[in-house]
Assembly symmetry: C2
Homo-oligomer: 314 residues x 2
Amino acid sequence: MTPETIQAAHDRIRPYIHRTPVLTNHTLDALAGCEIYFKCENFQKIGAFKARGGLNAVLQLTPDELRAGITTHSSGNHAQAIAYAARQVGAPAYIVMPRTAPQVKKDAVLGYGAEVIECEPTLEAREMGVQAVIARTGATMIHPFDDDRVIAGQATAAKELIDDAGQDVSFDWILAPVGGGGLLSGTALSAHYFSPTTKVMAGEPEGAADAVLSFKSGKVEKAPYIDTIADGLMTNLSERTLAIIRQHVSDIKTVSETEIVAAMRLIWERMKIIIEPSCAVPFAVVLKHKDLFAGHKVGIILTGGNVDLGKLPF
Amino acid sequence: MTPETIQAAHDRIRPYIHRTPVLTNHTLDALAGCEIYFKCENFQKIGAFKARGGLNAVLQLTPDELRAGITTHSSGNHAQAIAYAARQVGAPAYIVMPRTAPQVKKDAVLGYGAEVIECEPTLEAREMGVQAVIARTGATMIHPFDDDRVIAGQATAAKELIDDAGQDVSFDWILAPVGGGGLLSGTALSAHYFSPTTKVMAGEPEGAADAVLSFKSGKVEKAPYIDTIADGLMTNLSERTLAIIRQHVSDIKTVSETEIVAAMRLIWERMKIIIEPSCAVPFAVVLKHKDLFAGHKVGIILTGGNVDLGKLPF
């Protein structure tokens, strides 16, 4: 992927996304011992950065493909992203969701005019659901991260962060969380192309620690166990995202559930903004490894703000 | 109070406050049937608009007064506002707080270097506590709302809202919540002087409905009963604030606890920002009286974001 690919993605999706603000906070800087710039994708369309990747893929489909529609399976933000992107181009969307997904997430997808197909909450059932949709409609499947168009779309978040910081701020680090690796791959590519002196680090929950293993072994590994509040980060990498991450990411560090919740609470209390547990993970890494970041300029992608207010960890 | 008084207050406090953003949200506009501009004082220093009034009063004290220090009694944002303002000018601050106030609020005041004097949770004990501080130190008492300097400071929030909306937006309405009436008085004065075609309305909880009675009778009344989650709005008006409100406010409308919590939840979920229950009250009024605001441009002061995340109503 070239810098032109990411620039083209940005030009393509710009009319449909918010240029989200970059916020700073003196109290959190003092706590962390560095200068943090938070890229607020919790304020993005659909409440998460996934709108970027979904749009960049959907906007490159042919008229014939759009007529047949778009499908994916997701219990989370990618479902809304595809439903939202499909609505922008007037294409039908068929979203396969586990029947256990919160009603509020199903309602959000329905609200964008998509069809929701419920399935059992297993990966097999989800993939079979998508196959059935394709057999019935001829729809095009858009994967949540194993897709260069999606990665290029997610890359635009870090690109904006770098652009908006201006000439005065040269980031020593940019941090993102890692689930399937779409955001992390895109972030690493944008840093590599648009801010070559910036190093990229990922944060991962101890309770979904697959990427840190894959990063070391060079093979796509599974997590030893899955138990985390950061429900956006449970997925494994793909060969595609692992290759980009191995090439352009400096390190991946894990944090405990206690550290994630404490970091999330600090951001809620001090910045007065609502973020998902997943996006507290990189800030938890910074608080845990203050020596690494001392005095540095640090960008953090806050990935989304879609939380169930009825189930908070406080 | 003249427009010059408010302009001077703004010039005086500007170096010490944030120019908070004005946010809009398509989904909430669609729900409400009007165009809402939210002035986000939840992002203000100390997490609430009270920083404005506290600063404007403290910054007008003489060197002798500052040397003796500043005192007030408050269980809430005014305590932090005075502690913060005192620190900016290097003056000692003595804050009388009920022993039942949440530790997190006491810690915040201590964090600004103020001395906290605990007392029993009654108005009498609080006032005696302040008298004892004054006898001991000669400190100057700054009242949370019954003070023209404080009112002029609070007025700067609406002034910024009007200024930042620019020539293109002429507000039909500006709404603020009403407790002691400092913010509402200031808001009404700023609208009167800086946007004379704008009407001002207040929202008040049914469970602290003193201002709506006072507004009608012309005397400072007490609420029939006090029972509301909007803990910043339990106070009565003073003669001073009632006079300004009677002259410059169009109406005061009450909302139920259910309406307050529903409005608060909508703002949290859709805007991804944290607001106190008190500042959901005006938005609840707009949702309850859609006919009054249909198609109008409506400014709402979101007063603060200091909530106890361990005690949420969701």
